[in-house]
């Protein structure tokens, strides 16, 4: 007796289990569902924003296993079993702003706030691997994300300030 094998359909649902900001979550999604939509609409973590849906603006940047990725160019099914950080994971458990967030507020590094989550995550990743970046290194790390409001001036200042705040918080051992 032969078993009838049904052709896969784009509407078939796939289980995705993903750890977001330290919390393990799951969802059943079609293969074409974008990671940005999984985060925003299935998991209701709307802090990740979608600015272009073709990977140029970087507003949708999240950290996948600690590395920045564009969630609009990543399928949800690709992050099964992975660890993701979104903007919702940057503040302390009591809602207290983290050093990168505080720096952006102090230095007016955001206006409309739409591109901001992407810049916050890029900055977080940069300072994790390079606590004292030069301006050139800041430009390298953030130079692939678009902001239409700030002219980037105060974003760069915010990153410099975030480096200071981070080193204050974590004195060298």
């Amino acid at each position: 007796m032969s078993e009838v094998v049904r052709a896969p359909s784009p509407h078939d649902l796939h289980e995705v289990v993903v750890t977001v900001n330290g919390v393990t979550r799951s969802a059943r999604v079609p293969a074409r569902r974008l990671l940005s939509d999984l985060l925003r609409h299935d998991l209701r973590l709307t802090g990740t924003h979608v600015g272009c849906e073709h990977g140029v603006c970087g507003a949708c940047t999240v950290l996948l296993e600690g590395e920045p990725v564009r969630s609009c160019l990543t399928f949800a099914v690709m992050v099964d079993d992975a660890r993701i950080t979104t903007v919702e994971g940057l503040a302390g458990p009591d809602g207290e702003l983290g050093p990168v967030q505080r720096a952006f507020r102090e230095c007016h590094g955001l206006q409309c706030g739409f591109c901001t989550p992407g810049f916050l995550l890029l900055t977080t990743e940069l300072l994790a691997r390079n606590p004292e970046p030069t301006d050139g290194e800041i430009a390298d790390a953030l130079g692939g994300n678009l902001c239409r409001c700030t002219g980037y001036v105060n974003i760069v200042r915010s990153v410099r300030r975030a480096a200071e705040l981070t080193s204050e918080r974590e004195p060298p051992s």
């Binding site: 272009c52 901001t116 409001c149 974003i155 760069v156």
Partner: protein, 792 residues
């Protein structure tokens, strides 16, 4: 000691939520709403011969497909002409869905509603629209030739022709010792906020109310239009503007087709419906701006003093004119800049083309006007061998010449009268900041190393704070919180912060106790919108006036309670007290309790306002005549005319003649928008404006091909600058108050972008030694110009 909030670099109230992912942008709610996709025209100009939706009906999750034939009543009519003008003889607005003909790539033809956006797009892909292509009119030259028409019933593609004149420019030029005549042009661009447009609507059948969330710059405008088109009572339509991810002008247009179609579908289907614009849609359906061509004649004397200026220009209005002729009027009336003109004539023709409709993008016609005026002044300097800054100085309106009346009509229908300013001081400031006087040596030193440096300067005056009005509501709650509402909307300008600063000073409270709501018709139903650098001036003053009423009422009530004379009272740190005697005081929270006579106490504190709490005056009703319960007030600010901010930019650039690359080495800004409410926020506005100015000068343009296809409709091809392309401007402030409004303030939102192209064109011309008469300019274009110059 009372804290002063106005003028301080107060951190923003908005930032806590925006930094933690807790902002509420349009697409952050309505997760269960039906999704929408639009079938948009791939042709710039075509007749629709048929729409076949049969294949789409098989898509799982499809809910509805609509075309123009399905639209009932006034929804089938053309959308409103927002700003009529007597000279706009041939206005045309689009239908919400195309009716038989499309006039630009991107015009919506059919609307698909499905369980989610993915499925809506699946279905939209299966709809087959038959088109009979018509010749496309693209670009001003083609439109002027009138070889083909955009609208068959609009002769010559001409929407409007307008002329304004001060004195007799042509006679003055004819009599002038020196005359120059030349052509200029500026290309198309677009606002391009990081968040596109979006609409989310819900019809509440129980309450018979329509709730619309839309990423707009005018919630009251959307509400009025929707109520009118749907025949609903105004109170049955609620429009709420959530956090908005940038607007820059394009979101002031309303109602966009989607803003009537999504609510209509929600009501028709009895389901929540949401549409979120994708980036391609933004490029081909959100409005554009900037395309103009100019012909200039100027007469001047041996000292470079302008005797007469005659400008004719052609404005590309795109496929439709919902916003009337406001853009070219602004160009025409802001073109004179900070200069004394005795004879100025301007005439423009607004032309239809088969491209996306043009409406204001930050700067709104001013970058073009500034480009024309500043290129003109530069040419005068060149012709006479005079320093370009000196030519400007000789033509500037003096600080003692205000109010300065141009005898013309501004974009708001009011007289063009500059209210205040100190232009010579701005010029001196920007020269110092950029190092104008020492530049010759710098250039020479660079030249010795084989580098080509140039310097440029551009001046502008910006009419800000245009009417008709805005309002504000200030309410001290019994818990001491101060709730403030104004009807205009916010797109990142920090209104929650600056309006809180204003109220904090007026009421003597801490700004952190002030909570501001903008753009919610439930909270404030009368408003105009956020455009023309008007929010701080208009709503800021309205809110200040409302707060002053609240203050007066609080002092009156407290005076009775404290048995003190009102004139002896002050409000400090949220307490109404006898001046200098904090022990004799009463918190505003308690004044709010006393302001509202109660039958029923709701807390221990509220018992003080109940009917047996204190011996009443038997002859006075609990709420006296001419009084109202509650510690709250509403007020409006409506100016007689605009207030005029001004500024000047200067830049030093290096040009690489081998590649045409332009490097902006220094960028200096001196800006005068009157007293600064929050310098940090004003500087942020300037930074962003300068970035858009540089972008418009060197990178951004919308590249239509001859068939009307937008060839660069993505962020891959439209070169919006990244961090690496934008200079850090040096900024100086002047604070010349406006005599027109209670706070003396002027607008600051758009200023930064206005002189970008003029300033960089001048600097590039100076460095490269080639004439720059159209912007933007790309490295290949500049390289070609340098090559031509070398070849001649």
């Amino acid at each position: 000691m009372t804290t002063q909030w106005f003028g301080e670099r107060v951190e923003r109230r908005e930032d806590q939520r925006l930094l933690t992912g807790a902002g509420r942008f349009l697409d952050d709610a309505g997760h269960d709403a039906l999704g929408v996709a639009f079938v948009r025209s791939p042709h710039a100009h075509a007749r629709i011969t048929g729409i076949d939706v049969a294949d789409a009906l098989d898509v799982d999750g499809l809910v509805a497909v609509y075309t123009w034939d399905d639209l009932p009543g006034r929804l089938a009519d053309p959308l409103p002409l927002l700003i009529p003008h007597p000279d706009l003889t041939h206005p045309r607005t689009q239908h919400a869905l195309a009716r038989g003909e499309v006039n630009h790539v991107g015009e919506p033809v059919a609307m698909v509603v499905a369980d989610d956006r993915y499925l809506a797009e699946d279905a939209a892909d299966r709809i087959v629209v038959g088109y009979e292509p018509l010749p496309a009119v693209v670009g001003i030259g083609h439109a002027r030739s009138a070889e083909h028409l955009v609208h068959a019933d609009v002769p010559g593609n001409v929407a409007a022709v307008t002329t304004q004149e001060l004195g007799d420019a042509r006679a003055a030029i004819a009599a002038a010792p020196h005359v120059l005549e030349f052509d200029l042009a500026m290309e198309r661009s677009l606002s391009s906020p990081l968040e596109g447009r979006g609409v989310h609507a819900r019809w509440d059948a129980d309450d018979q109310r329509l709730r619309i969330r839309t990423s707009t710059q005018t919630s009251t405008g959307v509400r009025a239009a929707v109520a009118s088109i749907f025949g609903l009572p105004d109170v049955a339509v609620e429009v709420i503007t959530p956090d908005v991810g940038g607007g820059f002008g394009t979101k002031v247009v309303h109602p966009y087709p989607e803003e009537v179609l999504v609510p209509w579908a929600a009501r028709t289907l009895g389901r929540e419906v949401k549409w979120v614009e994708d980036r391609y849609e933004h490029f081909v359906s959100a409005t554009h701006e900037r395309g103009q061509e100019h012909h200039v004649r100027v007469g001047f004397d041996d000292d470079g003093v302008i005797l007469g200026l005659d400008v004719e220009f052609w404005h590309d209005t795109g496929a439709y004119t919902p916003y009337g002729i406001v853009l070219p009027i602004i160009t025409a009336t802001q073109l004179p800049g900070p200069y004394r003109h005795r004879h100025y004539r301007v005439t423009f023709t607004s032309l239809y083309t088969n491209t996306v409709t043009c409406t204001p993008y930050r700067g709104a016609g001013r970058p073009q006007g500034c480009f024309v005026m500043e290129r003109t002044v530069d040419r005068i300097g060149e012709e006479l061998g005079l320093d370009r800054a000196e030519v400007r100085r000789r033509n500037l309106i003096g600080p003692d010449e205000f109010p300065y009346d141009f005898g013309m009509v501004f974009q708001d229908g009011r007289p063009l009268i500059y209210d205040s300013g100190n232009y010579p001081a701005v010029l001196e400031g920007v020269k110092d900041l950029v190092g104008w006087d020492g530049f010759a040596a710098e250039r020479e030193a660079a030249a010795a190393e084989g580098r080509r440096l140039g310097i440029g300067l551009a001046c502008y005056v910006e009419g800000t704070g245009v009417g008709p009005y805005e309002g504000g509501h200030v309410h001290v709650e019994t818990n001491g919180r101060v709730m403030v509402a104004t009807g205009l909307t916010s797109q990142g300008q920090g209104h929650e912060t600056v309006f809180a600063q204003i109220v904090a000073d007026e009421l003597g409270v801490d700004a952190t106790d002030v909570y501001v709501t903008t753009g919610d018709t439930r909270r404030f139903p009368y408003a105009v919108g956020t455009y023309a650098s008007r929010a701080a001036v208009m709503s800021g003053n309205a809110i200040a006036l409302a707060a002053r009423q609240v203050r007066a009422k609080a002092i009156r009530i407290a005076a009775e309670a404290l048995e003190a004379a009102p004139e002896d009272l002050e409000i400090a740190s949220g307490v109404v007290q006898v001046r200098g005697t904090p022990s004799r005081g009463i918190p505003l929270a308690q004044v709010a309790v006393l302001s509202n006579p109660l039958r029923y106490a709701f807390s221990k504190e509220a018992q003080a306002a109940t009917q047996f709490a204190s011996p009443p005056d038997p002859e006075v009703p609990p709420v006296p005549e001419d009084d109202e319960p509650g510690l709250e007030a509403r007020d409006y600010y409506s100016p007689v005319r605009s207030t005029f901010a001004a500024g000047m930019h200067a830049a030093v650039v290096e040009v690489d003649p081998d590649t045409g690359e332009v490097d902006v080495l220094r960028y200096a800004v001196v800006h005068d928008c009157g007293p600064l409410i929050n310098p940090m926020i004003v500087e942020g506005q300037i930074h962003g404006g300068v970035a858009q100015g540089v972008a418009g000068a060197l990178y951004e343009r919308l590249a239509y091909d001859a068939a009307g296809n937008l060839a660069n409709a993505s962020f891959m091809d439209f070169l919006m600058p990244y961090l690496s392309e934008v200079p850090t401007p040096e900024i100086g402030h002047l604070e010349t108050p406006s005599p027109l409004n209670p706070l003396g303030i002027k607008g600051a939102g758009e200023a930064g972008v206005i002189p970008g192209s003029a300033c960089l064109a001048a600097a590039i011309e100076d460095a490269a030694g080639v004439r720059i008469d159209r912007m933007p300019i790309s490295p290949p274009e500049l390289w070609a110009l340098i090559g031509e110059e070398a070849g001649t």
